[in-house]
Symmetry: C2
Subunit: 415 residues, 2 copies
C-alpha cells in the first residue's frame, strides 16, 4: 500500500499529462471507462456485497446501507454519468479575454485545470466514478478518500477505471484511492499543500466542518441550505401556494428544499388556510409564530431554534413580517447562503430582494429547487458551493478549473 | 478596546450597508478620505514618529524602519491611491451573463462584494489606507491586523478614515483595526468564519505560511516568485539580453523579478559572454551549471539549492538544457507558480511553453516584470495570487468580489 505522500507525489507526476490531454482522447477515455464499469459490474457488485455484509454486521442504519448498496441499475447510472460528461464541452483551453495593452503586449486569460483535486466523501460508492469523471474531464488528477465502509466497492471501481484508462494509454494514477482508514492519514492528506491544489468535501455538515477546520489546503465548501420563501404583500397567492408546495415537498432531503416561509402580515390570513390544506396532502407539519398560528388551524408554535433549522423533513416554519425590510433582515440573519426566493408582483421589491439578500441563488417567483447544476444548464455538478471564494452556487466543470494569464510580446521590457 | 468578536460582529452588522452602497457615494467617500489624509497628515506623522522612536529603541533594522516610516510624500501617495480608486469602474453589480432556460427561467450571474475581508500585514502603514480603499470600493467591510510596530500610525490613519466616512453618512466600522498585539487574538481572528469571508495575508513568506496554516477562513495566498526566463534555440539573442537585463535588474526585491535563466545548449556559448558583460553593469553575480560556466569567464558554480531560490538580490542562476522538454520540466519543477517567460522565434515552442508551463503568468518574448495589476490594466492591485482558487495572478478589484445567481421566474416549479 502506498503512503499518502507517495500517492500525492504520483498525482503531481501525472498531472502534466492530464493537463495537456486533448478533448478527443479525454472523451474516448470516459466512454471506455463507462463501458468497462458495465462490463465489470459483477466484480463491482461482489466487492460491494462484502461491504454490505460488514455494514450489516456492524448494525449500520438502513439509510446508510441504502447509500452504500450498489445494483446493476446504479452501476448503469454511474456509466451513464460518464457518457454524459463525454458529451459536454471541454472547459479547458478557453481564452476568456485577450486585450492589447498600450505597449503592445497581448494579455489573455486562459482556462486551465486546477491540477490535483482531493475529494473526501462518505460511504457512497457512486461518488467514486462521478468525482473521477468530473475531475478527469476538467484535466485534473484526483485523489479520493471515501468512507471506509465502502472500501471494497471503491477498490473495485477504481481498479476498473484505472485498467480502462491504461488501455487508452492514459496513466492510471489519474485516479488514486486512499485505502487507509487511519484518521492520521486523512489528517496528513488535508495538509499536503505541496501535492494537492484543492480539497472538496462531499457529505454532511460534520464531514464538511471537519475538513474546513483541519485542512491547510484550500477547500471548496458545499453546505447546508436553510432556504426561505418570502410571500410579499400583493403576491399571487396561487403561485405562492404552488411554489411553496413544490419547494417543500418535491424532494425532502435536499439542500435546496424550502425550510422556512416568511409571509407579509397583509396576506397571512388568506394564505395560511389554503396552504395548510395543500401541505396536508403530504403531512407537512407547520411551525409558525403567533400570527401564523392564528391564521389557520393546526399550526404548531415555532421555537426560536426553528428559524435556523434545516429540517430535511416534512416540516416548515412560518414567520410573519410587516415589511420587506423585516423579511430581508430575517432571511439574512437565519439563512445559510444557499437559495432564497420572493413571491411578489412588486417591481421595486423584486429588485431589492435580488440585491439585498446575501445568498448563492436568489429567485423571484420560482421554486428554490432549481439550484442545481443540471437545472442551471451546466450538464454536470460537483456540488453546490455556499462559500464565496472561487465558486458560489452550483458548480459544474468550470469550478474544477482555474485560469492563467498568457502574454504575447515582441520584446517588451518594463520602463 | 473591543474584543475581536465584537469587531467581527460589528463588521457583519455594517456589511449590508456597504454591500448596497451605490457607486457615486462610494467614490465621493474615497475622495473625502483622501482629502482628510492630506489635511490631517501632521497628526499621522506625529503618531508615526512614536512608532519610529520605539522601533529605533528596539534596534529594528534599517530596511524595516524605512518601510515603517511615513513622510508628507508618502501620505500624499496614500491619498493619491484613493483618488485613483475613485476613478476606477465599480466592479459591483455587473451581470456577467443572463441566460434563458427551456422552462423560461432567466438565470444570471451578478458580481457582488465578498462581505467582510480580513487583511493581515506587516508594519507598513501605507497598506492601511491602500487595503481600506480597495475593500471599500469593492463594497466590503475590512478588518485590519497590521504589524504591532505600526500601531500608533495605524490608529491615527484609521481614525482619520473613519471620521471622513462618518461625515459622509457611512458607518465608520467599514474599517476596523485589531489593536491587540496578543498572538492569541490574531489566532482567534483567523478562525472567525462566522464573521469573516476571506483573509488576505500581505507580506513575506513567513507571514503567509502562518496564515495558511492557522486560518480556517478561506485565504487568498500571495506568494513568492522564483521566475525563470528560457532562451530557446534560434532566439533573438539581443532581445533575450534586453529582456533578461530588465527582468533581473529593473527592480531587485520584487516577486516578478527574474531569478533563474534556462538556456538552450545551442545558444549558451554565444549568449553568456554578452550577457555577462551586460549584467556586469549592475554587478549581477551569475551562478551557472558546468556548461554555463564554460561559456563565459567569471560565472560561479551553482549548487542544487540555487535552482529553487528567490534571491531578491543581484544574483541570477543559469541552467543549460538540450531541449524545450527539458526546459519545461526544469521550470515546472522549480518555479513557484508566479511568472515564467520564453524567448523564442519558434511558433510551436511558444505555444507549448504557454500551454505546458504551470504558472499564474506565462510570457512569450517579454519581461516577467509586467506581472502587476497596474501593468495588466486593472488600475489597482491587492496582491499577486500564486494559488489557483478564486484568483490567480495580479488581483484587482474584481478579486475582492464574488458572484451570486439571480433568477427571474414567473411561477416555475420543478417537475
Amino acid at each position: 500500500m502506498k503512503t499518502i505522500y507517495e500517492i500525492g507525489a504520483k498525482a503531481k507526476e501525472v498531472e502534466p499529462v492530464l493537463r495537456t490531454l486533448e478533448t478527443v482522447p479525454k472523451n474516448e477515455a470516459l466512454l471506455s471507462v463507462a463501458a468497462a464499469l458495465t462490463e465489470h459490474s459483477r466484480e463491482i457488485l461482489e466487492a460491494n456485497s462484502l461491504d454490505i455484509e460488514a455494514a450489516r454486521a456492524n448494525n449500520m442504519n438502513q439509510g446508510l446501507v441504502d447509500r452504500l448498496m450498489l445494483d446493476h441499475g446504479r452501476i448503469e447510472s454511474m456509466a451513464e454519468g460518464l457518457i454524459q460528461l463525454a458529451g459536454l464541452d471541454d472547459p479547458v483551453g478557453e481564452v476568456l479575454s485577450m486585450k492589447k495593452r498600450p505597449n503592445g503586449l497581448m494579455i489573455g486569460q486562459k482556462r486551465v485545470p486546477l491540477g490535483v483535486v482531493g475529494i473526501i466523501y462518505e460511504s457512497r460508492p457512486n461518488v467514486t466514478a462521478d468525482a473521477f469523471g468530473l475531475c478527469f474531464k476538467a484535466g485534473n488528477a484526483v485523489i479520493l478518500k471515501g468512507g471506509s465502509d465502502a472500501i471494497n466497492s471503491n477498490r473495485a471501481i477504481v481498479a476498473v477505471i484505472r485498467k480502462a484508462l491504461e488501455e487508452k494509454g492514459i496513466p492510471g494514477e489519474a485516479i488514486q484511492l486512499i485505502e487507509s482508514a487511519d484518521r492520521a492519514v486523512t489528517s496528513a492528506f488535508m495538509k499536503m499543500n505541496e501535492y494537492v491544489d484543492v480539497l472538496i468535501p462531499r457529505g454532511g455538515a460534520g464531514l464538511i466542518s471537519a475538513v474546513v477546520n483541519n485542512s491547510t489546503i484550500p477547500v471548496i465548501e458545499t453546505g447546508t441550505g436553510n432556504c426561505h420563501i418570502y410571500v410579499d404583500e400583493g403576491a399571487d397567492l396561487k403561485m405562492a401556494e404552488d411554489i411553496i408546495f413544490n419547494a417543500k415537498t418535491q424532494r425532502i432531503g435536499v439542500c435546496n428544499a424550502c425550510e422556512s416561509l416568511v409571509v407579509h402580515s397583509s396576506v397571512i390570513d388568506e394564505l395560511m388556510p389554503v396552504l395548510k390544506k395543500r401541505l396536508d396532502e403530504k403531512q407537512v407539519e407547520l411551525r409558525g409564530d403567533s400570527r401564523a398560528c392564528r391564521a389557520a388551524e393546526g399550526i404548531h408554535e415555532a421555537q426560536e431554534e426553528d428559524w435556523g433549522k434545516e429540517y430535511l423533513d416534512y416540516i416548515l416554519s412560518v414567520r410573519t413580517v410587516d415589511s420587506l425590510d423585516e423579511a430581508i433582515a430575517h432571511i439574512n440573519r437565519y439563512n445559510t447562503g444557499h437559495s432564497e426566493a420572493i413571491i411578489t408582483n412588486n417591481y421595486e421589491h423584486s429588485q431589492r430582494f435580488l440585491n439585498e439578500i446575501d445568498a448563492a441563488a436568489v429567485y423571484v417567483n420560482a421554486s428554490t429547487r432549481f439550484t442545481d447544476g443540471f437545472e442551471f444548464g451546466f450538464g454536470a455538478e460537483i456540488g453546490i458551493s455556499t462559500q464565496k471564494l472561487h465558486a458560489r452556487g452550483p458548480m459544474g466543470l468550470q469550478a474544477l478549473t482555474t485560469t492563467k494569464y498568457i502574454i504575447y510580446g515582441n520584446g517588451q521590457i518594463r520602463k
